[in-house]
Symmetry: D2
Subunit: 307 residues, 4 copies
């Protein structure tokens, strides 16, 4: 498996794919707890060393995963209990959250592709305050503290001709926020995590393998301010799922292993390249979970500051 | 394999899946020709008998498949050459096309799910005339002949609470068109046909296995007027593609056959049920091919009637 | 003013435009009350006789107007207090609301024109149950009573080539609901009522002058089942507002009256025909009030039936 | 009239509002010509001096107005003849158009408000090349010259919390284009120009009165590179049109002049503030004219460079 690029964005899955022998990996700490009333299972993976980062294929930092099975179900209040838990986790990862801040929320993805529209739809429901505070002061909200919230939907390269990172860097340099919150739809390895898991991390967004200083990264290193990334797996990479199915088969049928299998695998990849798999009700799901996330952000940095 | 429901909407693929021994199937005629300048390969499958319909898993009728590899590529004129070819095929299948007619175009699918938005997007670009002709006569268009074109986007059951067929039947009974053209996104068995194949058939739409008089059918039998269905495969069913990959593997590794395999297959189906696979640029593709189809319809029944 | 078509959809405004002398008009009863905590002023105009209907330019029936100034303001809970009040008024006008019913909600208007998108956006947020109850019975909702809710977005004639009434009639005949709730954006005479008034009436929708049996009406008379219409004024007719401004001027400057004025008025109408006036933040307003209305309907006929 | 802010974005109208006595205004040159076959009337207003700029209420520069009545009519080819004429005018105003350039197209406005969606919809149909040329070189297009086209939809302040100019400045600083083309919907003074006039200017965008170095300007002065602005009037300011109607009345009825009139005018303004007037078919119009503009840009800086 060494040379095979793991096609997952979830740190939880990266960890699961490590074999038993690695399970006590040095430099990786794991904490887990349940919010029983809300039926949410929280896992925190802390990658503390460069070696651990390399082994995990994920940069050093904190990865919080909230598994909330209820999130896929319709709910009158858009699962406010999940939004509240998300708000709590955001505040723990956001440096200086106890002071007034200027926060730029970036909604990544493509509004026109349903499964990739999480970022744009989250941005649609945010409580935007920066222009009001700048024009009238926080008195406009009749409160003593008010964060300045701004939001950006940079679009995708096929439509802008620009890297997302170029657009975000330029806007950060010009508007000088204290921190970024970046929202993106993720790819999971397994269909069972789709749309019911939220990952929050303080490592930002690392395109591709995720280790190293990539020119397209949205990280504290590249932008100069803390970057909290919030993601929900909404798709499964098509090549991954076929590969996983074949591999399960192989585990039982040792006779198939070897060169022929690897060749076949590459063939299936060629055909499935640039394809993804998602659920038939993805429009209703994205509408719902985007609201849960935007409310989480509103609670964390918007509304709860009102006197 | 007898009891395994073929999950494909393309008659061409249904035929391909028939083994060599069946290839000279009685009651099925096949014609093929190339439009060389336009780089379009046309296959006509004519299913003439009930027995052949049963063997093919498709109702009796004519299935025209246009394979046009250029369709996935951007083009200034939205591939007008493909639209013209499509118009020709529509006119051949549409009874009474030489007379003035009232035609209702129905755009099936879900506008909010990109890969399923073909029908609604085709309807967006049609040249609608029925209300003008009814109000002012065809003189409004300064021509001697003018079809009355109307269009309906019935939506999907999860959002309407009604079967598509209920809505269409009601509107047909009230507005009494001479014929229907129904547009839908299809599922292909193979990724290589995605977005580059147009199927036109005079059998209408048959949900599920496609044989028999289903309450949800949109057919001449259920609606009382001819129904031409136009479809483009935009997705691959997720379970199908995994199944196909496994099967190829099996062909070479006979040892794996038997009970264990079938069980595993069912497991993978349970997980992949209600999932589909599509390309990452599906928004640009749907925008383009929907225009090609709507222009084909406009040429066939709209614009070419102008004096 | 007799021959001048009043261009307003609000019964409240129709009544206001009647002069002092007419104010005790026979056959018209008016009730008013305030919901103080919710800051909602409710006016019920009951037109009981044909003569009164003629004088008012509105068909016989009950017109409830809820004036809720808070509705234009953002609110975390989408003004649930207004939704609750709306639900109450719907239930009072809906015959047989105490029994299980099948109700079709029709969202009129054009999704692509922001100020006219109220109906389509209300339909987007409804709790649709008909298909579930028909397939699995009300047991699916774990309750003893469950209305069957269905919804239709018929679109506008320029895009369908069909009258809205044709589409609705066909779907009603095929799916046989017990009652209709029809949602539409209205035109007000005055900008001060925009987006903060909800009108609920049991007279359905009467295009044009509103009296008589019009072929495009959506009424109990034309459809055979009760029709509750819910409307919110989102635009002011451009010609109306210019006319009103001129008239105010005239009241004080008697010298201007007479033939010349009327001629000028017609000129301004020619230019302003087919134009409307609306606010610059109409997108945010429609998004918000459509949610308030859909929640009102959900409370009235959807959710409150759960055991 | 001195103290009354002219609420128009069209230089042509600014000029028309200057009285006879000023018509030979020094520092303003006007050229007019007709493209007879295409039925387009072109007016070039060149404001050469600061005094003239002050008198006109418009910055120094060149303002080209194309009056094309056909633009409001449907057309199979989306009025390619108008696109070609627009391309010609763009190339005349764009410095260095004979060399390979990197051009950023900015689509101003609010996608969710139909009459304000011109900019975003133009951007949707552009031929974006920057990312391809940067990754693969111009060889990717099999041509000797290829401009690098990028595009940005900055959104509106109510949704981003940032000034449009902040976002654009940041992106310009980071991606360093050679020139900008900025698209915006304009307000006209008269309904007769709506949707049939294109204004192209090399002065960029000046919010408000348009003279002086405003922090929100998108100009060569503020951005450091040439800025071509393309606008189409899609709305009439509501207060303007009422004011104009009253004024026409006044011209004939001198008795009304004076203090009372001015007061009344202010009252009507208070009510009409933040309102605009537009046509009922604005969705179809914007869809059409945005395509005409995007094709004009594609011809000017995209497609015509192909070998």
């Amino acid at each position: 498996m060494e040379n095979f690029q793991m096609r997952t964005d979830l740190a939880l899955e990266a960890r699961e794919s490590i074999t038993e022998a690695d399970s006590e990996l040095r430099g990786v700490r794991v904490e887990e707890y349940d919010l029983e009333e809300e039926d949410i299972h929280v896992t925190k993976v802390m990658i503390d060393t460069k070696n651990a980062a390399k082994a995990m294929g994920k940069p050093m930092g904190i990865y919080v995963t909230m598994e909330a099975p209820a999130m896929v179900e319709p709910d009158d209040g858009y699962h406010r209990e999940i939004s509240c838990c998300l708000a709590q986790e955001i505040l723990e990862l956001l440096p200086g959250a106890e002071q007034e801040q200027s926060i730029l929320v970036v909604g990544l993805g493509n509004r026109e592709v349903t499964a990739d529209a999480l970022g744009p739809q989250v941005v649609d429901n945010l409580f935007i305050t920066r222009h009001i505070v700048k024009e009238y002061g926080k008195a406009a909200y009749n409160c003593e503290r008010m964060n300045q919230i701004s939001a950006l939907e940079p679009g995708v390269m096929a439509k802008t001709g620009m890297e997302t990172a170029e657009i975000v860097k330029g806007v950060v340099a010009e508007t000088e926020p204290d921190a970024l919150i970046v929202i993106d739809a993720l790819a999971a390895r397994s269909t069972k995590r789709l749309n019911r898991t939220i990952q929050i991390t303080n490592t930002g967004i690392q395109p591709g393998s995720g280790v190293g200083n990539h020119r397209n990264a949205l990280t504290q290193e590249s932008l100069g301010v803390p970057v909290i990334a919030i993601g929900i797996p909404t798709v499964v990479d098509a090549a991954t799922i076929v590969n996983d199915a074949l591999e399960k088969l192989l585990e039982e049928e040792k006779s198939l292993a070897g060169a022929r299998f690897k060749e076949r695998q590459k063939l299936s990849f060629a055909e499935l390249n640039n394809m993804y798999m998602t659920g038939k009700d993805i429009d209703a799901v994205i509408k719902r979970v985007s609201f849960t996330v935007s409310e989480g952000i509103n609670i964390a940095i918007g509304e709860n500051l009102m006197a």
